[in-house]
């Protein structure tokens, strides 16, 4: 059981993770964290939906594929409507280690509004991040600091824990795809406390990563940069309009 007070839920967005999801759920349950689990299937075309029916989790299914960010947002909306107090976000591909969740929750207990599990921070145990990806992470971490005032080393990590205030806010406005730097910038500008803790990450063993295609590699940096700047412009406008 976690020491965190209140009702908590683990949100796992999945797309074509039939091979991985049962293992991930089994690992989470073995930790005995006492948290509910909701898996959001983003219109998978493989057996993910059937696999989920056989697992002891709440399963939500998008009728069509809408993108990673939308699946996360659906999970957040579910958590808001069901009255959860805190939320843990993790991937369904086995890269995030459920045994590290207490570390994230400890960060919330210490007063942070959102805690990000880092692959880069000293004390992290991660697979070797490819140089291009590492450079992108550095650039976006710099951007998050410059635009949002948030000093986080691994802004692209999807392993996070957050309080209700944060996921209620993000449930209203969340990027459709690659919700990385711009979310951190957005949270920084809205004066949420963002913390980072070193965590263990594993390499994906089966299935295909959403960052693997050439199109994604080319689209991702430009999209994230543009979106981060737009977040800033929107806030200026909001402040000007009172």
């Amino acid at each position: 059981m976690t020491a965190m007070a209140g009702k908590g839920i683990i949100v796992i967005p999945v797309f074509n993770e039939a091979e991985n999801i049962a293992g991930v759920i089994g690992e989470i349950r073995a930790e005995g964290l006492g948290l509910d689990i909701v898996v959001v299937d983003d219109g998978s075309s493989d057996r993910t939906r059937q696999v989920l029916c056989e697992l002891p989790v709440q399963a939500l299914s998008h009728p069509i594929n809408l993108g990673y960010g939308v699946a996360v947002q659906t999970g957040m909306l579910h958590a808001v409507r069901r009255g959860y107090d805190f939320l843990v976000l993790m991937d369904g591909d086995g890269q995030h280690v459920p045994g590290e969740i207490p570390k994230l929750l400890a960060g919330l207990e210490e007063g942070a509004d959102i805690v990000i599990g880092s692959r880069i921070l000293s004390g992290s145990e991660s697979y070797t991040i490819p140089p291009l990806r590492r450079a992108a992470i550095r650039f976006f971490s710099f951007l998050a600091k410059a635009l949002g005032g948030v000093d986080i080393r691994d802004v692209t990590s999807g392993f996070q824990a957050m309080r209700r205030d944060v996921f209620s806010f993000l449930a209203r406005e969340y990027p459709v795809d690659f919700p990385d730097a711009e979310v951190v910038v957005m949270l920084g500008l809205k004066k949420f406390t963002v913390a980072e803790v070193p965590t263990q990450f594993r390499r994906r063993e089966r299935g295909i990563s959403m960052y693997s295609s050439l199109g994604t590699v080319l689209y991702y940096p430009f999209k994230s940069f543009l979106a981060s700047v737009i977040v800033l412009l929107r806030l200026f406008r909001e402040r000007r309009e009172g």
Binding site: I28, R29, G32, L33, G34, L35, D36, I37, V38, V40, L52, C53, P56, V57, Q58, A59, L60, S61, H62, P63, I64, L66, V70, Q73, T74, L77, H78, R81, V176
Partner: protein
């Protein structure tokens, strides 16, 4: 502009009008967009045959010949239409996303509802 050029442009525009009407007939285009395109085709056909208007347009744009002015006008219109349709697609994408999320959230979570360990 020569009579041959005017005729060619008119024939192309008429072919476009036939295509648009056929798209409406086969339910691949709605009445509102069909009317929009027919209005554009009518305006362009009118401009093609209005020598005085085209000369003024060429003078206004600083174009050497009236045909260039017409081309420039067409390009500007296409640009405006592309932005309009990009906005329309963005709006529809957001509506589709909201709708799909609502469907996912309204169907009761399967199978047990309570997954607490």
């Amino acid at each position: 502009m020569s009579f041959q050029a005017k005729t060619m442009i008119t024939v192309l525009l008429l072919a476009n009008a036939v295509l648009v009407v056929d798209l409406l007939r086969t339910r691949r285009l709605t009445e509102s967009y069909t009317l929009l395109w027919l209005f554009v085709i009518a305006c362009t056909t009118g401009a093609t045959w209005a020598d005085g208007f085209l000369r003024h347009l060429a003078w206004f744009f600083g174009a050497a010949v009236p045909l260039s002015a017409l081309t420039l006008l067409g390009l500007a219109f296409i640009l405006v239409m592309l932005i309009f349709f990009s906005m329309k697609i963005s709006k529809l994408t957001k509506e589709l996303k909201d709708l799909a999320q609502e469907v996912a959230l309204r169907i009761p979570p399967s199978p047990s509802g309570d997954s607490r360990e």
